[in-house]
Symmetry: C2
C-alpha cells in the first residue's frame, strides 16, 4: 500500500450520478489518488452538484473542484435552455437517435478541462463515466470518440511533448449495462443513496421518476435485483 500522497493521480469527471459515482469507486480500486472535477452549467443541475459534493466527501477524494461552464455558445438543449424534459417515454425511444438532452460537444469540453487539470497535476489518467446506454444516442460517448480524444490529448500537452509522459482516457463503464454498473458499484461498496440522476428534480431534490434518466436508473436497479435507495416523487 502507498500512502495517499505517493499514489499516481487521476482526474475524474464526477456528476454525482449513478455512473460517475461507480466510476469513482473503480478509480480508487485501480490505485489512483482522485482529483474530482464537477461542472456547473445551466439551472437544472444544481441538485447534481450537491450530490457530487456528497459523493466526493464520502469517498475522501484528494481534491474536488467545481468548475463553472459558460453556456453562451450552446443553443438548443434541454439541459441548458427551456425545452421541456420528455417524461414517461418508452425506453426504446431513448435509444433511437440523438436525445433532446444532447448538449453540443459537451464531453469534448469536459475532457478538455480535465486535460488542463491533468497537466497541472501531472496526472496519468482521466476517468470518464460514459456507458453503453449513452453512446447509442450521444456521438461523444462512443469508443472511437474517446480514442480520438486520447490521441489528440497526447499531442496537446507539454508533459507529452517534452517529457513523453502520456495520458490515458479511461471509460471503464462504456460496455456495461445499467444493471451491470449497479452490481459492480454495490460490490465496490458504493452508497447510491448519495447520488442523483434525474434531469428534472423537484425543488427538494427528489427525483421525478419519469424522465429518461430516472427510467433508465430504475430499470437498472430492477434488472440488478436491487432496491434504489433514493426517493422518487412517483413512489
Amino acid at each position: 500500500m502507498h500512502p495517499p500522497d505517493t499514489l499516481p493521480r487521476a482526474v475524474l469527471l464526477l456528476s454525482g450520478g449513478l455512473d460517475s459515482t461507480t466510476l469513482l469507486a473503480i478509480a480508487a480500486r485501480d490505485g489512483f489518488a482522485i482529483h474530482a472535477l464537477t461542472f456547473q452549467y445551466g439551472q437544472r443541475h444544481a441538485v447534481e452538484v450537491d450530490a457530487a459534493r456528497r459523493v466526493a466527501t464520502d469517498a475522501r477524494v484528494a481534491e474536488h473542484v467545481v468548475c463553472d461552464i459558460d453556456v453562451r455558445v450552446f443553443g438548443g438543449s434541454a439541459l441548458t435552455s427551456d425545452l421541456a424534459v420528455p417524461k414517461d417515454r418508452d425506453l426504446s425511444a431513448v435509444r433511437a437517435g440523438i436525445p433532446v438532452t444532447y448538449v453540443p460537444a459537451r464531453n469534448t469540453i469536459f475532457l478538455s478541462y480535465a486535460l488542463a487539470w491533468a497537466e497541472v497535476l501531472d496526472a496519468r489518467a482521466i476517468y470518464l463515466g460514459v456507458n453503453a446506454l449513452d453512446y447509442s444516442g450521444y456521438p461523444d460517448c462512443r469508443p472511437e470518440f474517446i480514442a480520438a480524444f486520447e490521441r489528440m490529448a497526447n499531442l496537446a500537452t507539454k508533459a507529452a511533448v517534452e517529457n513523453g509522459r502520456s495520458i490515458a482516457i479511461r471509460a471503464p463503464l462504456i460496455d456495461l449495462s445499467k444493471a451491470e454498473i449497479v452490481r459492480l458499484g454495490i460490490s465496490l461498496g458504493v452508497d447510491y443513496a448519495l447520488t442523483t440522476s434525474c434531469y428534472d428534480p423537484l425543488p427538494a431534490g427528489i427525483a421525478c421518476g419519469r424522465c429518461d434518466a430516472c427510467l433508465l436508473r430504475l430499470k437498472g436497479f430492477a434488472e440488478a435485483g436491487r432496491q434504489d435507495p433514493i426517493r422518487y416523487a412517483t413512489a
Copy 2:
C-alpha cells in the same frame, strides 16, 4: 456575391491581437459569415477583450460572443496567476522550449467551445490564428495537434455522425512569420491600430513594449518595413 445570411458560417477565435485580426480578414476573404468567439479569463486580458470588441465591430461580423473561462483547473501560468511576465528577453530565448506564458490545454479548451458553437450554428469551419512563432513553444499550436483535433471533432458531433457534415479546423497563419502576417493583413485592409498584443499592458491599455508578445510584434512590423500604429510605453 451572396447576401450575408446565405454565406456559409465559420466560427473564429478572436483575441483582438495581431494574428486573430489578420485571420478575420482571411476568413472574410474566404467568403464566410463570421461568428467570432472571444474568451475572458484571468485579469491580464481585459485590454485584449476590449480590442476584440473593436475589431469585431469594425469587421461587421455576423455575431461576437465573449465567453467566460473558469480558470480554477489551471495552475502555473503567467496568463492566469501572479507569475511575472518576462521582459526584454532575447527573442531567441522565446523560441527555446515552452514559454512561461503557456496555459495548459488552452487551445484544446478554446477549440472545444468553438466546436460546440459550430454545431449549434451548423458552421463548416473553425478558424484559429496559431502561427509558426507560436508552435516552436506551444505544443497545442503544431500542425499535428490541429489535425488530431479536427479528426476528433468529426467524431464528436451530431452533425458529423448523423448527417455526415464535417467541420474543418483552419489555421492559415500556421506557416507564416510575423512579418508575412503583417504584410498579408495590410494587403487585406486590416487596421492594426484596433489591435493589442501585449501580455502586460499599462492600466490605460498602452502596450509595455518589452514582453515577448510586444517584442515579436515590433520585430514583425520592422521586418515587414511597416510602422506599428499602436502606442507603446517604451516609444
